[in-house]
Symmetry: D2
Subunit: 156 residues, 4 copies
Amino acid sequence: MAGTVNKVILIGHTGDDVKMHYFEGGNSIGRFPLATNEEYTNRTTGERVSNTEWHNIVVRNKAAEICEKYLKKGDKVYIEGRLKTRKWQDDKGLDRYSTEIQCMDFTFLSPKGEGMGQGNAQQGASAQPQAQPYNTNQPAQPSQGVNESDVDDLPF
Amino acid sequence: MAGTVNKVILIGHTGDDVKMHYFEGGNSIGRFPLATNEEYTNRTTGERVSNTEWHNIVVRNKAAEICEKYLKKGDKVYIEGRLKTRKWQDDKGLDRYSTEIQCMDFTFLSPKGEGMGQGNAQQGASAQPQAQPYNTNQPAQPSQGVNESDVDDLPF
Amino acid sequence: MAGTVNKVILIGHTGDDVKMHYFEGGNSIGRFPLATNEEYTNRTTGERVSNTEWHNIVVRNKAAEICEKYLKKGDKVYIEGRLKTRKWQDDKGLDRYSTEIQCMDFTFLSPKGEGMGQGNAQQGASAQPQAQPYNTNQPAQPSQGVNESDVDDLPF
Amino acid sequence: MAGTVNKVILIGHTGDDVKMHYFEGGNSIGRFPLATNEEYTNRTTGERVSNTEWHNIVVRNKAAEICEKYLKKGDKVYIEGRLKTRKWQDDKGLDRYSTEIQCMDFTFLSPKGEGMGQGNAQQGASAQPQAQPYNTNQPAQPSQGVNESDVDDLPF
DNA sequence: TTTT
DNA sequence: TTTT
């Protein structure tokens, strides 16, 4: 019954556009890589160290569509989600693991018209895409038929 | 560069005791698995789904020693840290990836004397181990010579 | 507008039982104080300092009822919510402000049967109250008629 | 001894420049208001509701100086900190309370040269102020003599 | 008003 | 491999 918490909070830059996958039944997911950077001084050697960490972000359904529409490679975004490690088999039949962040909430942080791709006609002032918060726990349309197993059985 | 955030917040149960690794120069790390649980009702099938997610927690130096001493298999603990995916080679020379949570902060949540292992003599009243918060960003002993590369070049 | 984040994460002990308030239309809120503790050594004087911080937690509707039923004075609980400062007038007509945490998520952390009050008959095994996570963003019953203004116009 | 967590995570826009206060002994704090916005649809009335929440941010010492230097009114910033409610007496001798966020970490989110004030010569490429993360738990200069009571006895 |  |  839980009593546990699994929460990830990231602010980073997208490394690519959102790749969509559509399932039968109307569900969809979007995937994109997110980079966070870390800088510190190695206390032993005194040298400045710079690391980039890449995160696999997974978004679903309506949230995925919003991300695909407004989030472009290089954009800064706030992501809140859950850690999930998927097990899959490589072409040699060996077990492989991939850790993803299942996005539950996001907020675009890139200013409109800068770093948001060029010529995106949908970015009307009324839509304010650069500042769109999204919470995937919002009451969804029950008719949409969200099926968790769609995501868990991904062949990629 | 930065301007980014990489934060993980977990509350879960340890799946094993802390395994310590000591490096030349006095540094050390501790590792342990942490389980978080998720329960929800599949909206399509209506069935109750229960998932366990396992997280690889890595703690360093003094924090690692405190965890090894007081954290026992099955204990509940709050972990705050950063996501880091390590690349390593398996015995066939293939690239493999493992995502870890580098623990920056923790707080024991298991009540004293229950679920904290049996007969742990070190749990004196003055230590109050079950409620010990820890922040790895606290000013550490500069003489300790923390070496980041110790952790990054792990052969396991 | 948004593009903003307002998030509070607390683990603490309740200082009192949950006080419920019921509104016309079926909505309700529950309130309780939550204590977090801080200990540190004053770097100037070298003395050990211990502070208790009290937080005003506000929960709504079904979540409030669950808290009232299972959360007892002294229990440990994880709270996730939003900061909200309410303005009100004291008996002299002066503006006063009160900052609250509007709870969006919670998880009970006190073990069953310990620190959960005595003789609470409702704590059946099937309910597993001590480990009940709750997310107020879950699709609520639309018939419930949640009215935000109920909470904003509180006379207390 | 704690076993508690008191954490606030905010992304918002500053409502004013940073106001500095210097103490004897070399300590200092900076204060500034931060706005977060919330939009939702009232489920009862169906109307769109927009709320702005103001937070009192308090930063210390070196972090305060960095904020004063690079954070301008209107800038977007990520703040991580702790909730603290201060008690003070108004001019009639009545107890008043003010809740503040004691900033432990921050990251500037406004792009360089936009929304960061005009003519800030210090914003050299090497400083990269728009993306400067800061953690107040970093080992501070012990000679700095941080005195917690400075902040707790504020006359404002 | 909590907890250790 | 945890917990409820």
